[in-house]
């Protein structure tokens, strides 16, 4: 089995363990878009400190880990127009759908939520078509 797959599995178990702790201890669903979005639009004002604490861990700790191993890269496109359009779509879409890869994907599918399964089918389908169109046909990304 290629090393990337093993690392994927190990990292995935860590993500799932994080979500499991958040559920069993704090009684909450670990959805990144919901936690961030509630701070951005003010709907999560009542528990803002917990949201900030989670996001702080999410930013700082991988930052330290990446620094400790000599740096990491995202290989994000340098095309700013693509970045802006993509960011807007991710922001609007995840809030309209009430969830993203972590909320609908990890937390939804694991409880066999129909909404989570359908959301995941649509964002993977749309993402696949987007890569085909913009990479192979238009050559933009």
């Amino acid at each position: 089995m290629p090393m990337e797959w093993i690392m994927g599995l190990v990292g995935g178990v860590l993500i799932g363990t994080a979500a499991a702790i958040f559920l069993l201890v704090n009684g909450r669903v670990m959805g990144a878009s919901g936690i961030i979005g509630g701070l951005v639009d003010g709907s999560g004002r009542s528990d803002w400190f917990e949201r900030v604490a989670l996001i702080a861990g999410l930013i700082i700790v991988p930052g330290i880990a990446a620094w400790a191993v000599g740096g990491s890269q995202t290989y994000l496109t340098s095309n700013w127009a693509v970045i802006i359009v993509a960011g807007l779509l991710v922001g609007i879409g995840t809030r309209l759908a009430n969830g993203c890869t972590s909320g609908h994907g990890v937390c939804g599918i694991s409880r066999l939520s129909l909404r989570g399964i359908i959301a995941t089918a649509f964002y993977i389908g749309a993402g696949g078509l987007t890569v085909v169109l913009f990479k192979h046909i238009l050559g933009v990304i």
């Binding site: 363990t17 979500a19 559920l23 009684g27 809030r95 749309a126």
Partner: protein, 143 residues
């Protein structure tokens, strides 16, 4: 105490994203690129994450969270238009950049200016979502 737990949860989440390669946009786009050089790593990440979480959901039955009054309500059965439209828009953005909200935050310290630009645009999109939702609910025929 709940905030300390939240910090640890964020830390594990971020480490998992980094280790699994999900902060690398090329890996995510590689998973979506079924007609190119397909990269199945994301399936291992999803599978690995779903296993502990599925066990955790089983564990919630008849119990209470350690530091909260109750567990989240059961998922709403109605699928609805916003779920489908929203997930489709999200998928297009995810495919274009190879970033979703978790990895976008987790890579802020090493992702350069582009990473900050993406997060800025994502915040703008999140602010735009409630009025768009209100308009969708108002103008289109209910399904």
């Amino acid at each position: 105490m709940r905030s300390l737990v939240s910090f640890i949860v964020g830390a594990l989440f971020g480490l998992g994203l980094l280790i699994s390669g999900m902060t690398q946009t090329t890996r995510v786009q590689g998973w979506l690129d079924v007609f190119g050089d397909w990269d199945p790593t994301l399936a291992f990440v999803m599978g690995g994450a779903i296993i502990p979480m599925a066990i955790a959901w089983q564990f919630t039955r008849g119990r209470k969270p350690v530091l909260a009054a109750s567990f989240p309500a059961p998922p709403e059965p109605r699928v609805g238009r916003n779920l489908v439209i929203g997930s489709t828009l999200f998928g297009v953005g995810w495919g274009l950049a190879g970033l979703c909200p978790g990895p976008a935050m987790a890579s802020l310290t090493f992702g350069g200016a582009g990473g900050w630009l993406f997060v800025g645009a994502m915040f703008a999109g999140m602010l735009a979502a409630p009025p768009i939702r209100a308009r969708l609910d108002q103008q289109l025929v209910p399904v």
